[in-house]
Amino acid sequence: MTRSNELLQGTLDLLILKVLTLQPMHGLAIADRVRQLSDDVLRVNQSALYPALHRLEHQAWIKAEWGESDNNRRAKFYALTKAGRARLKTEEESWERLSGAVQGVLRSV
C-alpha cells in the first residue's frame, strides 16, 4: 500500500465537495475525477474515500441516493446539499488562506 500522495487532513473533504458541484456522482467517479483533475497527482485511497463520504453525509453536507451506473449496475450517487455548498465556500476560503500562508513562508525563507 503506497501512501506517497497522502492527502493533507481535511483536504479530501474539500475535494469531494468541489467535485460534486458538477453533478451527482458515485464513489468511483469521484475518485476518477479527482485523479483526472489533478493530472494523476492526487490518488484517493478507497479506505479514506468511503469514510469521508459517510462522514460528509452524516453532517448533511452531501446526500446519497441509489441509482443506475453507466453500465446499468446499482451504485450509490452522492449529491451536494445546500449546507454542503455553504460549507464548500468556507472550506475554499480557508484553503486559500492556508495555501497563501504556506506560499508566503516558502518564498520568504
Partner: protein, 890 residues
C-alpha cells in the same frame, strides 16, 4: 434541528447496523468490480485484473471499519459490547464481584442514609410558606447573664406595642404552649396545645385542610371555645371523619367546638423549633385561640410569650433588628420590674434558630460517612488493581491484537461502572435499612429528623454517588492496567511479568485508607471519652426514682383550694401500701422547665439581678430523689404546709458562691428588700437541673406549699418497694380518687430523663463509632488483601530465600515489616489529619481536651493490633511455604 436529524440518523444506523453494513459493502463491491472491469478492458487476464484492482482499492476491511466509526455509532455500539463483555467477565469471578459490590454498597448505603437525614433536616424547606422570611422576636436583657438571649419573649403589652409600631413585618403573631387534658373516652389523655392569635396561621402561610382558621372574634373572652385539630389527632380521635367540623372535644373539662383541621405534617410549634419551648410537648396536636382579657393585654411585667413575624417584602433581618432595637428602647422605661432594666430586642431568623444548632453535627456526619465511602473506594480500587494484574495476560493479548489503549480503558471503566451500579442498587437497599435504624436512634433534638425518607432527591444522590464512586475507584486501575508495552509483553512470552509498580500503587491506597481511619478513630475516641464522662456525672438524684406529672385540678380555683389539693394528693399517695417516700416539686430536673428568683443574701455584697434557680419542694422530695443532705436538715412535714416561708434549703454551689464554701446553716436570705428573711436550714448536694452537661448554678429550695400562689401543677417523686407497674397503678388510683378528670402525664423513671438528656450525645457517638469501626474493618481487609496478594506474588522470592537459608521467623519478619511499614506511614499522615479533625470537634466534646492524650495513644494502639491481626494469615502462609514448590512456581 440538525442535532435532531443527526441523532435520528445515528439511532437509525445503530438499529439497522446490518442494513448499513450491507449497503456499504455493496457500494464498495461496485467500486471494486468497476476497477476490475476497467483492467479487463485494458487487456489484463482476469486474475491480474483482480489483483491490480485489489492493490488499487486497498483494504476493504479497513475502509468499512473507518466508515463504521465515522457513522458515529461506534461509541454506543462499543458500550453495548463492553457491557456484555463486562458482565461475562464479572460473572466469571463471583468472589471478587461479591466483595467489591458489598464493600461499595456499604459506603454508598451509609452515605445515602446520612444524606437522607441531612435532606430531611436541612435541605427540604419547612412547610411554612417562604420559611426564610420568618423571624422570632426576643426581648433579652444583657444584664441578666444567667439567661440566654432566646429565653425571654415580649410580654403581652410589649407585644401589642410592637405590633402597632413596627413596620418591618408583614404579619406578626403571638402564641403560647400548654399541656391539656383531652377527654375522648374514659381515660383523659395529655395533649400538646398551642394557644394562638388570629394571625398565627396567616403568618405561617398555612391554610387548614378542612374548615377555617381563627378570626379576631375567636379571641374574645367567652367566645374562645373553638379548636383546630392536627391531622394526626383528627385521624386518631375522629378516624378522619369528614363531618368532624362542628363536633366537640373536651379539654380540661370544657367543651371546644372543632372549626378546622390542619394538613398532614403541620405541627408547629414543635419542640425543636422553639428555643425554650414547653419541655413536655414534642409536637402540637391542637390549636386553640389565645384569649386575653383587657387586664391581661395590659400586662407588661409578668408574661413572656412567643412572638413570630414574617418580614415585609424587601426588609432584611438586619433592618428589622435596627427597628426593633429602637422600639425596645422605647418600651424599656414602661416596665416596673427591675428584671427589665436594660432590656433590648433580638430578631433571629427561624431557620437559623432551628438549623443553627444541628448544622455542625450534620456536616460532621456527612464528612465521616464520606470518609467511609473513600475507604470503601480504596478497597475496590485495590481489588481492581489486583484483578488487573491477574488479567494482564488477557489485556496483553488484546493489546497485541490491536486494541487501542483508549478502547481498553473504556472497557475497564465500563466494568467499574457495572460494579458501581450494582453497588448502587444494593446500597439503596442498605440505605433503606440504615434510615430505619437511624430513626430508632432519633435523639429528639434534630428538627424534622422523623421525616427522613429515601425520596427522589436522595435517590438522585445515590445514583450520582454510585457513578462518582465508579469513576473514583475505576480510573486509577484503568490507566495503570492498560499501560502495556506490547513488545515487552511478547518478550515475556505472554506469561507473567513484573507487577511491582501496581503493588506500590496499592500500597499508597492502603496508606491513605489507614490515614483516613486514624482520623475517624480519633474522632470516635474523643466522642466515646466524652460520653463516658457524661455517664459518670454526679446528677444529684437517684436514677430509679419514679415520677409523674400531675396538673392542677380545674376545681381548685383559689389559693386555699390549691393547697388543699396538694395536701390531699401527698397524703393519699404517701398512705398507699408499698410507697416508702413521696415528694412534690415544682420542676423536675432535665425537663427544660426553669424557674429563677432574684435574691438578697444577708452579709453579702449583693448586686442587682442576682438570679438563682428556685424550686418549691416538699419534705419528701430529697428523700424520694435520694439527694444527700450534706449539712443541717431536710424540711419537716409540718413545714410543708406552713403559711409563710421562713426556712429554705440551698445547694452546694449556692454555699460556695455566697458563703465562700463556709457553713451556710443559720444564714439568711430574702427575695426582695420588702420580704421577711428566711433562714437556711439545710445544705444539699447539687442537682443538675438544666442539662446533664451544665454545672449546677446556685439553687434555693422553698417549702412546697409556702409559695404564693402554689404552683399550677407539680411533679410527684416516689420511691416504693412495689414493682414499677404496681407503683404506677397506685399513683394513678390516688390521683383519680382526688379528681377523676385529671390526666396523669409524663410517667417516668428518673433514668428515662437522664437517658433522654444523653440521647443527642449517644446518637452522635454511636454514629461516629459505627462509621469508624466500619472504616477500620474495611482498612483491615485492605491491608490483608494487599499482604495476601504480595505473599502470592513473592512466592518465588520466598522460596529462594528459604532455599538460601532464611528461617521461617525471617520470612514472617519480612511480611510483618511490609505490613507495619504501611501502618507507620499511614499513622504519621493520619495523625496530622486527626489533629486538625480533633480541633474542629472541640464544641462536641465534654470535659475532654481536643488533644486528649488517652485517645491519641489508644488509636495507634488499636490500629497496630488490627494491622497485626491482618498480618497473621499472610505471614503464616508465607512461613509455611515449601521452598521446592515455590521455586517450581516460578
Amino acid at each position: 434541528m440538525r442535532l435532531l436529524n443527526s441523532l435520528r440518523q445515528r439511532l437509525n444506523s445503530l438499529l439497522h447496523k446490518d442494513d448499513a453494513d450491507t449497503s456499504l459493502s455493496e457500494e464498495m463491491q461496485f467500486h471494486f468490480d468497476a476497477l476490475v472491469e476497467r483492467n479487463l478492458e485494458r487487456g489484463m487476464s482476469p486474475a491480474d485484473a483482480r489483483r491490480a484492482a485489489r492493490m488499487e482499492f486497498g483494504s476493504m476491511a479497513e475502509a468499512s471499519q473507518s466508515a463504521y466509526e465515522s457513522r458515529g455509532t461506534a461509541l454506543l455500539d462499543d458500550l453495548m459490547q463492553d457491557i456484555r463483555y463486562g458482565i461475562r467477565s464479572l460473572r466469571r469471578s463471583p468472589g471478587f464481584t461479591f466483595i467489591t459490590v458489598l464493600t461499595l454498597a456499604l459506603g454508598i448505603g451509609a452515605c445515602t442514609a446520612i444524606y437522607s437525614l441531612v435532606n430531611a433536616v436541612m435541605l427540604r424547606s419547612l412547610p411554612y410558606g417562604d420559611a426564610s422570611r420568618l423571624v422570632y422576636l426576643y426581648m433579652p436583657n444583657p444584664n441578666i447573664k444567667e439567661l440566654p438571649p432566646e429565653a425571654l419573649g415580649p410580654s403581652n403589652a410589649d407585644f401589642f406595642d410592637i405590633r402597632q409600631q413596627a413596620h418591618s413585618f408583614s404579619s406578626i403573631t403571638m402564641f403560647d404552649q400548654k399541656g391539656m387534658n383531652l377527654t375522648t373516652g374514659s381515660q383523659p389523655e395529655r395533649v400538646g396545645v398551642a394557644k394562638v392569635d388570629a394571625n398565627f396561621f396567616r403568618t405561617l402561610e398555612v391554610a387548614p385542610l378542612l374548615g377555617r382558621d381563627f378570626q379576631e372574634a375567636d379571641q374574645q373572652p367567652g367566645n374562645s371555645r373553638s379548636v383546630i385539630l392536627s391531622d394526626a389527632l383528627w385521624q386518631s380521635v375522629f378516624a378522619g371523619a369528614a363531618d368532624v367540623l362542628g363536633r366537640s372535644v373536651t379539654l380540661d373539662g370544657e367543651s371546644y367546638r372543632v372549626v378546622g383541621v390542619m394538613p398532614l405534617g403541620f405541627a408547629y410549634p414543635q419542640k425543636t423549633e422553639l428555643s425554650f419551648g414547653n419541655g413536655s410537648i414534642e409536637t402540637t396536636q391542637l390549636w386553640i385561640p389565645y384569649s386575653l382579657s383587657a387586664q391581661q393585654r395590659a400586662d407588661r411585667d409578668q408574661t413572656s410569650i412567643n412572638a413570630l413575624a414574617r418580614l415585609a417584602p424587601g426588609v432584611t433581618v438586619k433592618d428589622a433588628q435596627a427597628e426593633m432595637s429602637t422600639i425596645a428602647a422605647r418600651l424599656e422605661p414602661l416596665h416596673q420590674s427591675l428584671m427589665f432594666s436594660g432590656m433590648t430586642a433580638l430578631v433571629k431568623s427561624l431557620t437559623r434558630q432551628v438549623l443553627g444548632p444541628v448544622r455542625p453535627l450534620m456536616m460532621l456526619l456527612l464528612s465521616a460517612v464520606g470518609f467511609v465511602l473513600l475507604i470503601a473506594c480504596g478497597n475496590a480500587a485495590s481489588l481492581l488493581l489486583a484483578r488487573a494484574a491477574s488479567r494482564r495476560h488477557e489485556l496483553g493479548v488484546r493489546a497485541t491484537l490491536g486494541a487501542r489503549r483508549g478502547r481498553l480503558i473504556r472497557q475497564m471503566l465500563t466494568e467499574s461502572l457495572l460494579l458501581g451500579s450494582a453497588a448502587g442498587v444494593v446500597g439503596v437497599g442498605l440505605a433503606w435499612l440504615f434510615i430505619r435504624a437511624l430513626l430508632r436512634l432519633n435523639p429528639g433534638n434534630i428538627p424534622h429528623m422523623e421525616t427522613a425518607t429515601l425520596d427522589l432527591r436522595a435517590l438522585v444522590f445515590a445514583v450520582l454517588v454510585s457513578l462518582g464512586t465508579s469513576l473514583l475507584f475505576g480510573i486509577v486501575p484503568a490507566f495503570s492496567a492498560t499501560r502495556i508495552n506490547v513488545a515487552a509483553f511478547l518478550a515475556s512470552a505472554g506469561t507473567r511479568g513484573l507487577v511491582a509498580d501496581r503493588r506500590s500503587l496499592r500500597r499508597s491506597l492502603v496508606i491513605v485508607q489507614i490515614a483516613l481511619v486514624v482520623v475517624l478513630l480519633t474522632g470516635a475516641g474523643l466522642f466515646l471519652r466524652s460520653y463516658l464522662k457524661v455517664l459518670s456525672i454526679q446528677t444529684g438524684f437517684s436514677s430509679s426514682t419514679l415520677t409523674i406529672g400531675v396538673p392542677m385540678s380545674a376545681a381548685a380555683d383559689s389559693v386555699e383550694k390549691r393547697r388543699g389539693f396538694y395536701t390531699a394528693l401527698l397524703q393519699t399517695i404517701s398512705t398507699q401500701p408499698g410507697i416508702q417516700s413521696a415528694g412534690l416539686v415544682s420542676e423536675l430536673p432535665l425537663t427544660d422547665s426553669e424557674s429563677f428568683v432574684t435574691i438578697w443574701v444577708d452579709g453579702y455584697p449583693n448586686q442587682k439581678n442576682q438570679l438563682v434557680e428556685a424550686r418549691d419542694a416538699s419534705s419528701g422530695y430529697f428523700t424520694a430523689m435520694q439527694t444527700p443532705v450534706l449539712r443541717g436538715r431536710n424540711f419537716t412535714p409540718d413545714e410543708d404546709s406552713a403559711a409563710k416561708h421562713s426556712v429554705v434549703i440551698v445547694n452546694q454551689t449556692f454555699a460556695n458562691t455566697y458563703f465562700a464554701g463556709k457553713d451556710p446553716i443559720g444564714r439568711r436570705l430574702r427575695t426582695s428588700t420588702d420580704e421577711p428573711w428566711s433562714t437556711i436550714v439545710g445544705l444539699v448536694q447539687d442537682i443538675r437541673y438544666e442539662s446533664l452537661e451544665t454545672a449546677a448554678v446556685p439553687q434555693v429550695y422553698v417549702p412546697f406549699l409556702s409559695s404564693f400562689p402554689p404552683p399550677g401543677g407539680a411533679a410527684v417523686t416516689v420511691r416504693s418497694s412495689l414493682p414499677q407497674a404496681a407503683s404506677i397503678a397506685a399513683l394513678r388510683a390516688s390521683v383519680r380518687s382526688i379528681d377523676p378528670n385529671l390526666a396523669v402525664s409524663d410517667v417516668r423513671v428518673m433514668s428515662d430523663l437522664t437517658s433522654h438528656a444523653t440521647a443527642p450525645r449517644r446518637f452522635q457517638t454511636t454514629l461516629l463509632t459505627v462509621f469508624s469501626s466500619t472504616a477500620l474493618f474495611l482498612a483491615i481487609i485492605g491491608i490483608y488483601g494487599l499482604l495476601a496478594y504480595s505473599v502470592r506474588q513473592r512466592t518465588g522470592e520466598i522460596g529462594l530465600r528459604m532455599a538460601l537459608g532464611s528461617t521461617r521467623t525471617g520470612i514472617v519478619r519480612l511480611i510483618l515489616r511490609e505490613g507495619l511499614s504501611l501502618l507507620i506511614v499511614g499513622l504519621c499522615i493520619g495523625s496530622v489529619g486527626a489533629v486538625i479533625f480533633a480541633r474542629t470537634l472541640r464544641s462536641f466534646l465534654y470535659e475532654v481536651p481536643a488533644m486528649d492524650p488517652v485517645t491519641f495513644l489508644l488509636v495507634p494502639a488499636v490500629l497496630a493490633l488490627a494491622t497485626l491481626a491482618a498480618c497473621i494469615a499472610p505471614s503464616a502462609r508465607a512461613a509455611t511455604t515449601d521452598p521446592m514448590v515455590a521455586l517450581r512456581h516460578e
